[in-house]
């Protein structure tokens, strides 16, 4: 049938299961690390460490589970543009809320 032709036609990158296993394992380890870190007394670094680990996990998921590392430039640009817009909006909103009362007391 046309099966063979279809296979040749799609230049689709197939991510190997080995990568999935490594990434899945890393995500579980990082989950353990972030829980352990929350029990340590790190002062202001407690939330910073927790958010940093969450960001690392999210990036791993996006790059490998969601195949962005192997995707077209269009997909990469879309993901980056979305992230950039989101960070801009949340950054400007938070800086406004946190600084609105400065100098009032």
């Amino acid at each position: 049938m046309t099966d063979q032709k279809e296979m040749e036609e799609s230049q689709h990158h197939i991510v190997s299961p080995v990568i999935y296993i490594i990434i899945g394992g890393t995500l579980l380890v990082l989950t353990g690390v972030t829980v352990a870190a929350s029990y340590l007394e790190l002062g202001i670094f407690n939330p910073i460490v927790a958010i940093a680990i969450a960001c690392i996990k999210a990036v791993l998921v996006v790059l490998f589970f969601m195949h962005v590392k192997y995707s077209s430039k269009l997909t990469k640009l879309t993901v980056f543009a979305g992230l950039f817009t989101f960070l801009t909006l949340i950054g400007m909103t938070l800086s406004d809320y946190f600084s609105r009362a400065w100098g009032r007391w």
């Binding site: 799609s10 299961p17 999935y20 929350s38 958010i51 999210a58 490998f64 993901v79 949340i90």
Partner: protein, 269 residues
């Protein structure tokens, strides 16, 4: 060629439900007078690759709207946490780290099985695909089950915002096992009241996340039926792939919810 009943049922049971259905080429090519192409290639695309790229791009655009949606909730959470910090610290001590961690592990594992499912579809391994989808389905249900246990705890302690909301755990921490274990000091009444804001956001965020899980699980059930009929292992994997993107996105939302709600206020300073 699949040997199951999929091909014969295609027309009457799932008419144009997604991009798998279309292309008269399979049944009536001559009248169109064009080259032969896979049955799932829609006519407005040049080739299979372009069709897959377009579908992936559209899925990412949808996910960006989801990012903005959950982003609003995250922003609200951060603003209120900044305003009512002592209330948010005390309220977050009511969450159970054990259940939260277990749920994170369950969800990450389900993301892994989903990724393996996409791989199985790509290499056309039908039994593997069905197994992965079923595992993902079960892990998704397990997540919701654990969430139910947590919600039940909140309901029993009157920590659901509304008329029956109780400030006991925050005005008198010694009367409450979780608050006592965390060494909470009693809050003043006006600050204690703001714990309700924390729980409102807790239920809004985890509830919207759970709704996404429920929708995902429903689609998974549908996909399992179709995968058993051989729908995704004949070269056209777009639907599985894009559902995978959705499932991983829901996973990412939880990856951020977990530290923000459960972890970052363990040690108030």
């Amino acid at each position: 060629m699949t040997t199951s009943g999929w091909k014969s049922r295609e027309k009457k049971r799932w008419p144009v439900s997604d991009s798998t259905a279309i292309a008269p080429a399979a049944h009536g090519a001559p009248e169109h007078g064009h080259e032969e192409h896979p049955a799932y290639l829609r006519h407005h695309f040049e080739n299979v690759e372009q069709q897959a790229d377009a579908a992936g791009f559209a899925m990412w655009l949808f996910l960006l709207t989801e990012v903005m949606f959950f982003g609003g909730l995250f922003t609200a959470y951060l603003i209120y946490r900044n305003w009512y910090y002592p209330a948010f610290v005390a309220a977050s001590h009511q969450l159970n780290i054990f259940w939260g961690t277990l749920n994170t592990a369950v969800l990450i594992t389900s993301s892994f099985t989903m990724a393996m499912g996409v791989w199985c579809a790509e290499i056309r391994k039908q039994s593997g695909l069905v197994l992965c989808l079923v595992l993902t389905f079960i892990l998704g249900l397990a997540f919701l089950g654990i969430k139910t246990v947590e919600y039940k705890e909140k309901i029993e302690k009157h920590h659901v915002p509304g008329f029956h909301y109780s400030l006991n755990s925050f005005l008198d921490p010694d009367s409450d096992a979780e608050a006592k274990a965390a060494g909470d000091k009693p809050l003043a009444l006006d600050m204690a009241r703001h714990t309700e804001v924390y729980f409102s956001l807790y239920f809004a965020m985890t509830g919207m996340h759970a709704l996404h899980m429920i929708i995902g699980i429903a689609i998974l059930g549908f996909m399992i039926l179709r995968a058993r009929a051989g729908a995704y292992t004949a070269g056209h994997v777009t639907f599985v792939e894009n559902f995978g993107l959705y499932w991983h996105f829901v996973d990412i939302v939880w990856i951020f919810l977990f530290p923000l709600l459960y972890l970052i206020s363990r040690h108030p300073n």
